[in-house]
Amino acid sequence: MTINTLAKEGWHREQMACFRKMEKVIVAMQDPDMGIKMRNQRLLITVIPHAMTGHDIITWLIQKYCICEEEALHVGGMLVRYGYIYPLKEPRSLVLKPDESPYRFQTPYFWTSTRWPASELDYAIYLAKKNIRKQGELMEYEKERYSLLHKRINHTWDFVVMQAREQLRASKQRRKADRIVLECQEQAYWLINRPQPGSQNVLDMGLERPNNFSMRAALNSDYYKGEIEVCRRALGRNRVKSSICLEGFLKYTEQYQNHDPIMQGCLPSNPWISDDTAHWTMNTETVPTPTRLRVERWSFSFMELLNDSMGKKEFMTYLEKEFSAENLCFWQACEDIRHGESSKIIEKVEEVYKNFLAPGAARWVNIDSKTMDKTLSGIKHPHRFVMDDAQMHIYFLMKKDSYPRYLKSDLYKNMLAKAIVPQETKKSVFPFMRRQRHSSPSPAQAVTQTTEVDGRAKAAGQAGTNSAAGTNA
């Protein structure tokens, strides 16, 4: 039983996968041998058969799934909220009480997944029945909906009333106990499928996204003309061979694997787990000595170096030694123009021209004449991206020339040598635990661990889980 929506090409997508799972539990609960033991419950003067108490439900869940009481209460609560079990006392309060409160299983006929989607017609008949049966039995919100439906499906209203009367007549011929049961079941169904405004709607599928269809892009000639332009440009694009690109991805993930805390853990320990913030302290923007992983990353790509403020400073020091620091200064100034406030663009461009581009400028940057001409004419009407070409030129200059030499320089090598490799902090909570290579059980490591240590690791892992559950109550 699934809730399906017919997507394009007629293929079904499950909307509420949870229903299928809950139904499995419900069926197990009603198993004649292993399920919950039913009994008769008294409701005022009537006896309701096949009922159980909240306590029964919880006990059964605990036993069957070997879970704790908190979790059983949670799961049982979900079964009630989704309408698979309904309370006999206080039917409007869909809550599982772990006491002697009576509950009953909803009949599969009234499972939300069986009758999906809930039909407007059925709802109208239900409200009509309530209205006819006892004047004033409809609640305020039900009255509103009733009158709304009356307007909306007015053409079938005779049918609605007739059906309501028929169903009422048929139910009168049942035993009182059965009649009450049926009424309870039907009420429970509608509490789920047409909930009271303000209460949680478990079937809520999301915000109604009002679309302004009149503004929608019309597939007219203008649209196609634009598309053709886009396609022509896209066609002329340079495409790189797949094999080369894929190699790139493999290299990238491999290179960064040791720098991925989720895959390999992190030293000295992951603050999310150990609550020790040493990792963050060691990796703040400016530290006297950076960590080794951090310095290693500077060699991965030029962008990595520039993105790290410390790396950038080191690189600047190197460039100063080489008397080409103006390149990096120019690049930074251009970044400032690109991402800074619009109102300051004009004055910033002026500054950059004065310092870096004007003939005889104090920190003149070496740009090819074509780019220089283009930039100079662009400066007459300065905008955010006017320096882009020049900036790109200098960027590639540094990347191809200065950057590789920096990586081979003593400055970098010394930095790498004195960089810290943090000591892994022992988990203080369980001092008897076997010392692990990484503080967080490395998911990748789990596979490669030999079977000999598997047993111990498993036991340690179990203890770890319990501790995690305990500290994160």
Binding site: S242, L250, T277
Partner: protein, 342 residues
């Protein structure tokens, strides 16, 4: 009328012809598959992440979350009409921003940490200064004719928005005006992501297409098709050379930007729920995808295998995010809780 229709038909034919040529060009460079290339790579095995923290505080469905660049603070938006800025390490709520409209669908943290932005069914992207004594509305960016599905800051001066009116837009925060409007999608834009170098961005829409745009000139540079339903989530691979998309058709896909085509499809017959959100681990090897089935499933990005699951939410996982330092992953759900895992 007839001549108009004839003209449109001719244009459509030309357009289709070009698209076929593009497909042919893509095929021509396709000399290897990802699954083939990753054959020699070691498997990650079973990835079992533990729940480390549950952040409680929202009173209704959480629709969006975004990490700050310091990897400690995080902002979340909920249908209860509040934005909450969290210190995820202590679990404390640092700032609560009351929203004018409770129907929020997206939230973003500025790289500087000074501003947050949110928007939704009100069609407006509101930017707040959270460093002031009490959160102050800095700007109300009001020009979209459809709901705001996603927003991302480039800096404290610029922000990108994606909207249900099928357009994306670059705004100047100083003037509060639109600078560039990106039009080419024919369905509601559902999400966007900025490239690492901030020169381009990608958008996913209900027309099942993902598009790459140039931030400066507003042109669509590349279009990727393949999904059969709305694309709800999109992200860049950290190298900037690929994009990952998640869709209502229950699949995620990776598209390579340089070879201009799909390289791998992440789909499993047992997974029959739509993808709502996704995030990548720092190395890009793991993809965390939130689904309608209340779980966040973990994929091996290179081998295309499902390697784990984060179970614990009572309702749809609506948002997922990995902070810059990559220490773990955060999932936000309609059950009103945010959970941190690693």
């Amino acid at each position: 009328m007839a001549s108009e229709k004839a003209e449109i038909d001719a244009l459509k034919k030309e357009c289709d012809g070009l698209r076929t040529q593009i497909e042919a060009a893509r095929k021509a460079v396709n000399d290897g598959s990802m699954t083939g290339a990753s054959g020699g790579v070691a498997s990650v095995g079973r990835v079992q992440l533990k729940l480390r923290k549950t952040l409680k505080g929202h009173l209704a469905k959480i629709y969006a979350m975004h990490w700050a660049t310091d990897s400690k603070q995080m902002v979340s938006a909920s249908q209860d009409g509040k934005l909450l800025v969290w210190d995820t390490h202590t679990g404390n709520k640092l700032v609560a921003v009351p929203l004018k409209s409770a129907w929020v669908m997206s939230v973003a943290f500025a790289p500087s940490g000074n501003l947050v932005a949110s928007g939704g069914l009100d069609n407006i992207c509101t930017v707040y200064n959270i460093k002031a004594a009490s959160p102050k509305t800095l700007r109300e960016l009001d020009a979209h004719t459809g709901y705001l599905s996603c927003c991302r800051f480039l800096s404290d001066s610029e922000i990108l928005t994606a909207s249900g009116d099928t357009t994306c837009c670059l705004w100047d925060l100083e003037t509060g005006k639109q600078k560039v409007v990106f039009t080419n999608h024919i369905g509601d834009c559902m999400s966007l992501a900025l490239s690492p170098d901030m020169n381009t961005f990608i958008s996913g829409a209900c027309d099942s297409l993902a598009k790459l745009w140039d931030v400066r000139d507003g042109t669509c540079k590349q279009t990727f098709s393949g999904h059969t339903s709305d694309i709800n989530a999109i992200a860049f691979f950290h190298s900037g050379n690929a994009i990952i998309t998640g869709s209502d058709d229950c699949a995620c896909k990776m598209y390579d930007l340089r070879s201009d085509q799909e390289v791998i499809n992440y789909q499993d017959t047992s997974l029959n729920a739509g993808v709502t959100s996704l995030a990548l681990s720092s190395s890009g090897r793991l993809i965390f995808a939130g689904y309608d089935d209340f779980n966040c499933h973990i994929w091996d990005s290179l081998k295309g295998e499902k390697v784990g699951v984060l179970s614990g939410h009572d309702n749809r996982v609506s948002c997922t995010g990995v902070p810059e330092d990559g220490l773990g992953v955060c999932t936000g759900s309609w059950d009103s809780f945010l959970k941190l895992w690693n």
